[in-house]
């Protein structure tokens, strides 16, 4: 695998994580809205499958792919629905949020270390 495709993959992951952060923030903000249903993004695995990254023409070297459309929202399976038909569980949302932040940290650190590798090979 080439370095540029690793960085491209990390970029898609970072965009997916920030799009997911919106969904989670929405759920937390609407914790007291009657009738609101909790939502989440489709898993990153599914997004990658839909993008068909194995095709070399689709790789990060080519034109910028439009992968924002692959980030589809799905309803979170409701654990408990309150009297006002609201299905948000604040604990679950906060847990997912901290998971998102730690994965984002992993992604940026991967970009950082591959970037270090590129500059090491340039400087010799």
């Amino acid at each position: 695998m080439e370095i540029s495709s690793v960085i491209g993959l990390a970029q898609i992951k970072a965009e997916w994580l920030s799009a997911r952060q919106i969904q989670l923030a929405q759920n937390v903000a609407n914790v007291n809205s009657p009738g609101y249903k909790s939502t989440d993004l489709v898993s990153f695995n599914e997004v990658l499958n839909n993008l068909n990254l194995t095709n070399p023409m689709n790789d990060a070297s080519g034109a910028r792919m439009n992968f924002q459309d692959a980030f589809k929202t799905v309803a979170t399976p409701a654990e408990d629905t309150s009297m006002s038909q609201n299905s948000v569980s604040i604990e679950t949302e906060l847990l997912k949020m901290s998971e998102t932040a730690s994965q984002y940290s992993l992604t940026t650190n991967i970009i950082k270390s591959f970037h270090r590798m590129i500059s090491a090979s340039l400087k010799g």
Partner: protein, 140 residues
């Protein structure tokens, strides 16, 4: 479409302002828990309630929260015997506000928790932004 992390911070800030408005309504209720009417037989303060609803923010495409309406609690007033009060009717009874301080306290705790979780969401998004900015610092 604006930056998703900035948009998620604006969603959380709409949650913060909704919860602080809820706090205002709660403190209005608590402050007026003994406010009777001024003339004999007049109605006292009526407890206020607040309802939230989700609205689509067309700029960022995210779902924010807004105040749907501030309504009045239609439940009955408590009647107390206070012949000396200016609000007492001919028989000496005064209508007291329909505010239950235990319900208000429980509501206040819940508003507090919801505010805290929105604040945590803002903190998390800000941390993610600063991690991205840190990428620029690695080039040395």
């Amino acid at each position: 479409m604006s930056d998703p992390l900035i948009a998620s911070m604006s969603v959380s800030s709409s949650g913060l302002s909704a919860q602080s408005l809820r706090m205002r309504v709660i403190s209005e209720n608590l402050a007026n828990s003994q406010s009777t009417g001024a003339s004999p037989g007049a109605d006292p303060y009526r407890r206020k309630t607040i309802t939230f609803g989700s609205t689509l923010d067309r700029v960022s495409g995210a779902t924010t929260v807004s105040t749907q309406k501030i309504a009045h609690d239609p439940s009955n007033f408590a009647i107390e015997y206070q012949p000396g009060s200016p609000a007492a009717n001919a028989a000496g009874y005064v209508k007291m506000p329909n505010v239950n301080s235990i319900i208000e306290m429980a509501d206040m705790k819940e508003a507090n928790r919801a505010y805290e979780s929105n604040l945590q969401a803002v903190r998390q998004a800000r941390e993610m932004v600063s991690m991205t900015i840190d990428l620029l610092r690695s080039g040395n």
